[in-house]
């Protein structure tokens, strides 16, 4: 007959009370693990999404517009250029995983819309640009054949607006150069949807320049983006646009929400533990005469302390394991639910739970539970057998 069995059987006396306390702990564990899993999953998913932007940094001449909207507002004017010779020095930087040169151009198309409009063109390299944006998928066709081909890949909205399909020929306004549509991208939800991509050399030829407007930079995974940014800012007449800043801003918002949610989870955990303390204390007070009889049998104060603590341990460990099991089982459902209620959720798994996280949570629950079991255990240890026998009589 082990003490574990005695403690376990004691918990079975008031089944409903034990079950309710057990459920409270299980729910707390579920909420806690799910929140931790969400925190990790969301951060990882957001990282993946930002990584999928391809390049984390853009370098361009100061004053050069870099967003499609700005290009449209400026009517395709105001571009400033940098030399391609920069590319070699950037490629040699140990923090940089890859670079891609881009030439941005905008031309007025009198046939676009009712009153005409600005059409944005990106001259890109088929060798380096797709690798920077691995998330790009083709609705039709594919990338250009060679760097100087008179071909174009259209963003989804650009193609939809002009009702284009692969094989169609489009005219670059103002320059009267014909290009063959070789690919139409799937919708990405980014500004790429409205862009027409042209081989870099071809667009340089069309624009009559041998320069570029922008360099997209992908930083190595273990690279120090902030340090690289500082270095790039030292270069004369250059502006740096960093997507990591965007990510950091989002993560700051997420962190704020996370602190609030973790605070709620902590309160839920503390309430559950107050339930544990209450359950075990009630159980001890109801059994005072019996605990006294155990002392007449030879149980020392330490034995009774350990026995009551064992009950707390069983309750907390059992409830914790059940809750963690629940969080594993419901991870997908939780992720789907969170995705429905969040205004923005990155792609991929939003709740990532692993055994390390589960173990840490269980340790916290058992640790806090054992602390909450101190008072009942102490009370049991201090029972005087004579008092209990008097209460019997």
């Amino acid at each position: 007959m082990t003490r574990f069995r005695i403690a376990y059987r004691n918990l079975q006396r008031k089944k409903t009370r034990t079950l309710l306390t057990f459920s409270g702990i299980a729910l707390s564990a579920w909420v806690l693990v799910s929140l931790l899993g969400f925190n990790r999953g969301y951060e990882n998913a957001l990282n993946r999404d930002v990584d999928n932007l391809g390049y984390q940094l853009m370098v361009m001449a100061k004053g050069c517009p870099y967003e499609a909207a700005t290009m449209m507002l400026q009517g395709g004017t105001g571009f400033r250029y940098i030399n391609e010779t920069w590319l070699d020095s950037l490629r040699a930087d140990p923090e940089i995983a890859g670079v891609t040169p881009i030439l941005m151009q905008a031309y007025f198309d009198p046939n676009a819309g009712e009153n005409g409009g600005i059409v944005g063109y990106f001259g890109v390299e088929a060798a380096s640009f797709p690798a920077m944006k691995p998330f790009l998928r083709f609705h039709q066709g594919g990338w250009f054949g060679n760097g100087n081909a008179a071909e174009a890949v259209m963003g989804f909205e650009a193609a939809e607006l002009e009702q284009r399909k692969v094989g169609d020929r489009i005219l670059v306004p103002e320059r009267n150069v014909e290009l063959t549509v070789v690919g139409i991208l799937e919708r990405t939800g980014t500004q790429d949807d409205g862009i027409i991509f042209v081989p870099l050399r071809k667009l340089q030829e069309i624009a009559g320049t041998d320069k570029i407007t922008t360099v997209g930079i992908k930083v190595k995974h273990d690279g120090d983006t902030a340090a690289l940014e500082r270095r790039l800012y030292q270069l004369p007449d250059v502006q740096v646009v960093s997507f990591s800043q965007v990510k950091q801003t989002i993560m700051k918002l997420i962190s704020t929400a996370r602190v609030m949610v973790l605070a709620i989870a902590t309160i839920a955990l503390l309430i559950a533990m107050a339930g544990v303390a209450n359950t075990i204390l009630m159980s001890v007070l109801e059994r005072l005469p019996e605990i006294g009889v155990l002392k007449t049998m030879g149980a020392m104060p330490g034995d009774l302390f350990a026995l009551v603590w064992m009950e707390t341990l069983i309750l907390c460990a059992g409830g914790g394991i059940a809750g963690i099991g629940l969080s594993f089982a419901l991870a997908r459902a939780t992720a789907a639910w969170v995705r429905r209620i969040l205004p923005y959720a990155p792609r991929g798994g939003l709740v990532e739970i692993d055994l390390g996280m589960a173990g840490a949570t269980l340790a916290v629950i058992v640790g806090v539970g054992l602390i909450s079991g101190l008072l009942p255990a102490w009370k049991a240890a201090r029972v005087r057998p004579l008092d209990s026998i008097r209460s019997i009589n």
């Binding site: 069995r5 002392k295 149980a299 104060p301 034995d303 026998i389 019997i392 009589n393």
Partner: protein, 247 residues
């Protein structure tokens, strides 16, 4: 069908009545007083008692006469205000020294088994597990199989895996007796062991206690109101107003 205690209940040689009848318990001028408001109550007032190994003593007397208080002092459940107590040759109380609860527990588990009026079995443990319970906290060597042997001797061999709620009051008290004996105590203290039983079960438990004393040589001190059960003992003492009277 309910089991009956076996005709002969034997423990081990430790409990056999010795011809020399050594003294196992000696109380001298034990006194226990309580304060009730401004009044001082002498629950036990200068009681002296000598108990020899293998004796069966009944302690009778009216309610409030100090029987249970005396049993608590003899069983080291309470410290006296004055007097001396010697157990198996060891001085326990004397010269006004009070022992800590921890020391008293050590003495209790070495020497005593206790049986109470209200059985106090754990309802979620089986009969067998209830008897094994004391061994979870303290176990003298060489006690393998002791619980099953005792339960069989007490006629409960067919009830081993029953819960207390599934057996009669008499059987519950027999389980409590087995629990008290499982660590082979030198002295069994019983406080109103038949107080919650009908007359048939009372006789049954009385018979069990007499068997334990006669055949196993167990030293037994029993507090009871029941004159028929008290009559089973070889020696009867009476408590009145905190004092003991014999003969």
């Amino acid at each position: 069908m309910e089991g009956r205690p076996s005709a002969t209940i034997g423990l081990n040689s430790e409990h056999q009545l010795t011809t020399e009848a050594e003294i196992v318990l000696e109380a001298r001028d034990l006194t226990r007083t309580y304060r009730r408001g401004n009044e001082e109550v002498h629950a036990v007032n200068g009681v002296s008692l000598t108990v020899r190994r293998g004796e069966f003593i009944s302690c009778t007397g009216p309610s409030g006469s100090g029987k249970t208080t005396l049993l608590n002092l003899l069983g080291c459940l309470d410290n006296p205000n004055a007097g001396e107590l010697t157990l198996a040759g060891r001085g326990i109380f004397g010269q006004g020294n009070n022992l800590s609860e921890r020391r008293l527990t050590r003495i209790r588990r070495e020497l005593f088994g206790y049986v109470f009026q209200n059985f106090h079995l754990i309802p979620t443990l089986t009969v067998r597990e209830n008897v094994l319970l004391p061994l979870a906290f303290y176990r003298k060597p060489g006690l393998d199989g002791e619980a099953d042997k005792l339960l069989t001797q007490l006629g409960l061999g067919h009830r081993l895996h029953h819960l207390p709620g599934q057996i009669s009051g008499g059987e519950m008290q027999r389980v409590a007796i087995a629990r008290a004996l499982v660590n082979r105590p030198q002295i069994l203290l019983a406080d109103e062991p038949t107080g919650n039983l009908d007359s048939k079960r009372t006789d049954e438990i009385g018979e069990v206690l007499r068997e334990l004393n006669r055949n196993a040589g167990l030293t037994l001190i029993m507090v009871t109101h029941n004159p028929r059960i008290a009559g089973l003992a070889g020696r009867i003492v009476e408590m009145r107003d905190g004092r003991i009277y014999e003969g």
